[in-house]
Symmetry: C2
Subunit: 387 residues, 2 copies
C-alpha cells in the first residue's frame, strides 16, 4: 500500500529589510555632513567599524581628487568608523562582471583587512562595478554591509537603488548573484556632470521604462522636458533620477522583492536588450539596448492590438527625441535570427513559464505568456525601418 | 556651515520564508509517497520543472542501491517533475568545502542542464556537502530551489534544517556563504543505521547544546536515555533528532534568522570548537569538537560563579556517558595557547563586539561580552584533567 508515513515541522518566518536612498550633491565635501550622520546613526556600541572603499577606475578622468577628498572627509567628519586607508581602484564597465577576477580581488581585500559582518564595504562607480562588488559583499562572511554610491544616471535611478547583485558566468549575464539589499545608497548628482553624452542619455531609458509600466504622468513630464534633458540641465536630470528611483523602489517594496514568482515587470524591454548587449559584445550601452527592446515590444504590443497607434508613436518619438537610435549595426546584422534564442534564454533565466510584459497603454502594462514569432519578426522589421 | 543637504527615500519591506522539515523512513521506497506528494504540492503550472540530484560519495559504502532506487522512484511515483538522469556524485566531508572545486562543478551542472530558478537541486549527504551544494544553489541564477536530504545525525538535527550554507575560503571556515532557506528538508532515519559509531555519537553534541541553552526537559530525557542512545536504538535516536531539530527551528523562527545582530545563541561552545577543528586538521569530528567546546564553556561558567557545581557535573557526565572525550591529543598539544586567537577569530566572524553564551543553569544561558583569559586558562586545565 502506498502511503505518506511521516511527520513534519514547518518553519515560517519573515525577514525585514530597510535602507535609505539619499539624494545629495558633493557627498565628500567637508561641508556635507550627510555621510557622517549616517555612520553615526548606525553606531550601536563603542566599537569602531571599518569601511573598505572600492572605486571605479572610470571615475578618474574627471574625479581624481576623490583619492584625497575621501580620506580628508573621514578624517575631518567621521568619528564613528575607521576608513581603511588603502582605497581599492578597479576597472568598471560590463567587462568587470565577465569573469571572477574583480570579485576575487574584493573578497581577498575583505579578508586581508578583517572586514566583518558589521563593517562596511563602500563602492563608488557605475552599475556594473556596483553589481560585482555587491556580490562580493553579499557572500563574504554570509553578508557584510554594503553602501552604494552610484555615479551614472543608470545606476542612480535603477540598478543601484535595487536589491540585486551579480557577475556574469559561463558567458551568461548575471548567472551568479544574490538578492541582498544595501544598507544605504548615496546618489550624488555632481558625478553626473562629467558623464559622456552616451551615458547621460543611456540612463534615461530606464526612466522611460518605468513610466511606461507605472506612471503616465512621469512619461508626460519627460515629453515636456526633452529639451532640458538633452541639453544636460542638471536640475531637470535630478528630478528624473529621483522620480525613476522612487517608482523603482516603490515597485520592489510592494511587489515580490526577491522574485520568488515568475513575473518580472521591471524587465519590460529587457529580454531582447540582454541578448543585444551580448551580440554587440557590449559595444552598445545597456540603456541603448533597453531603448531598442522597449521600442520592439511597444511595436509588438501595437501589432497585437493591445496598444493604440497614437500611443506607440508617442513612445517611439520620446525615445528618438531623447537621442536613442533603432538602427544599431548589430540589429541589421544578426538581431532578427536571434529573437527566438533570446526569448528562450530569458525564459530560462526567469525560471518557469515565459512571462513578458507588453503595453495596453502608456502606464498600463499587460502580461503575456506566449509570443507569436511571426508577429515579433514583423515588429522587428518595422523597428529597423522606423524613421 | 556644515549641513545635511539631502532628501531621501526609504525602502522597507518584508520577505516571507517557509519550508517543511519532514521526518520519514525509506524516502525512496516505492511505497513512500511523501516526496511525490511534495512535488505535486509545489506545482503551479503545467510546465515540468527539473530536478538535479547531487549525492555524497560517502553514502556508497552502505547505500549504493540509491543509484537505482532514485530513478525508479521518479519513474514510478513522480509525474510532476523531470529527473535529470545524470546523478552527480561528489566527495563529502569537510574537505569538500575547503576549495571551490566542488562548488564549481555543481554550478557548472546547473548551467549544463538548464536548471532554472523554479527547478530543484536535491542534495543527499552529510552536513558539509549540504553546505557546499546549498551555496551553489543560493547563487546560481540568484537562487534555485534547494531540497536537502541530510544523512547524518548532525545534519538531520542541526545544520541541515537551518538557513545557512557556505564553503571555506582563505583557510577560514564558512568564509563564503549566504542565508538561504531550503524549500524542503527530508530527514530519513534509515540513513542513520549505517553511520560509523563516531558519527552517530558526534551528532548528539548539538542535541546536548540545544538542551543546555533552551530546554532542561530535553536534557533530562537524554540523561535517562543514555543507554538506548549509546546502544544505537533507532527509535530513541529518531526522537532525539526530532526534538533537536524542533528546538533549533523554533529558535531560528523566533530569533534573528539571518543574524543581523551580534548575538549567536546557537553557537554555544562553538567559538573554540571551530578552532579545534582547524588545529586537528579535521581529524576531529565537528560534534566531538563542540562537546569539548561546551565542556570548556560550562567549566568557565562554573568558575565565573554563574553555574552550580552540581549542574556542571551533570553536563560533563552526560557528555562523557554519551562517549565524548576531553583528552583529544590536539588539546594537550597546542589548544591552550590558541584560546586567545580563537576568541579573536570568532569575534571577527561574528562581526562587532564579542558576544558569547555561557550558562547560569541547564536550560538557562547567559550572554557575556568579555572573557577573562586567566579564568579561561584555568577552565582549560580543569577540562584536560577531568576524569
Amino acid at each position: 500500500m502506498k502511503e505518506n508515513r511521516s511527520k513534519n515541522i514547518r518553519s515560517e518566518f519573515q525577514v525585514t529589510y530597510e535602507y535609505d536612498v539619499f539624494f545629495t550633491k558633493e557627498l565628500f565635501s567637508l561641508e556635507n555632513i550627510l555621510l557622517s550622520e549616517f555612520f553615526q546613526s548606525k553606531k550601536t556600541d563603542k566599537m569602531k567599524k571599518k569601511v573598505l572603499v572600492v572605486i571605479d577606475q572610470g571615475l578618474f578622468n574627471f574625479h581624481n581628487k576623490i583619492l584625497e577628498s575621501i580620506p580628508q572627509y573621514f578624517q575631518s567628519n567621521v568619528e564613528s568608523v575607521q576608513l581603511i586607508e588603502d582605497l581599492i581602484i578597479l576597472p568598471g564597465g560590463e567587462t568587470s562582471k565577465n569573469d571572477s577576477n574583480g570579485w576575487e580581488l574584493v573578497v581577498s581585500a575583505i579578508n586581508q583587512y578583517g572586514i566583518d559582518r558589521h563593517s562596511y564595504l563602500m563602492v563608488i562607480g557605475g552599475g556594473a562595478i556596483l553589481d560585482m562588488v555587491g556580490y562580493a559583499a553579499a557572500v563574504a562572511h554570509r553578508g557584510i554591509r554594503l553602501i552604494r554610491i552610484p555615479t551614472t544616471v543608470l545606476s542612480q535611478n535603477d540598478s543601484g537603488v535595487g536589491v540585486k547583485n551579480s557577475i556574469n558566468y559561463f558567458g551568461k549575464k548575471n548567472f551568479l548573484g544574490t538578492f541582498a539589499p544595501p544598507v544605504a545608497v548615496f546618489n550624488d548628482s555632481s558625478f553626473l556632470v562629467s558623464l559622456e553624452d552616451r551615458d547621460w542619455r543611456s540612463g534615461m531609458a530606464e526612466a522611460v521604462k518605468v513610466s511606461l509600466i507605472k506612471n503616465k504622468v512621469f512619461f508626460e513630464w519627460m515629453e515636456s522636458h526633452v529639451s532640458e534633458l538633452t541639453h544636460r540641465d542638471l536640475t531637470t536630470m535630478e528630478h528624473l533620477v529621483y522620480e525613476c528611483a522612487r517608482l523603482h523602489m516603490e515597485h520592489i517594496q510592494n511587489g515580490d522583492p526577491f522574485e520568488f514568482g515568475s513575473s518580472r515587470p521591471l524587465d519590460f524591454g529587457h529580454w531582447f536588450a540582454h541578448k543585444l548587449e551580448y551580440l554587440a559584445n557590449f559595444s552598445i550601452r545597456h540603456g541603448e539596448a533597453v531603448a531598442i527592446g522597449m521600442a520592439l515590444d511597444s511595436i509588438y504590443s501595437y501589432l497585437s492590438g493591445f496598444l493604440q497607434e497614437s500611443e506607440l508613436n508617442r513612445i517611439l518619438n520620446l525615445l528618438r527625441d531623447l537621442g536613442f537610435q533603432f538602427n544599431h549595426p548589430v540589429l541589421l546584422k544578426n538581431g532578427k535570427e536571434n529573437l527566438e534564442l533570446a526569448l528562450k534564454e530569458f525564459q530560462e533565466h526567469l525560471g518557469g513559464k515565459l512571462t513578458l510584459l507588453m503595453l495596453e497603454g502608456i502606464g498600463f502594462p499587460k502580461e503575456v505568456y506566449t509570443i507569436h514569432l511571426s508577429l515579433l519578426e514583423s515588429a522587428y522589421d518595422r523597428l529597423v525601418g522606423w524613421k
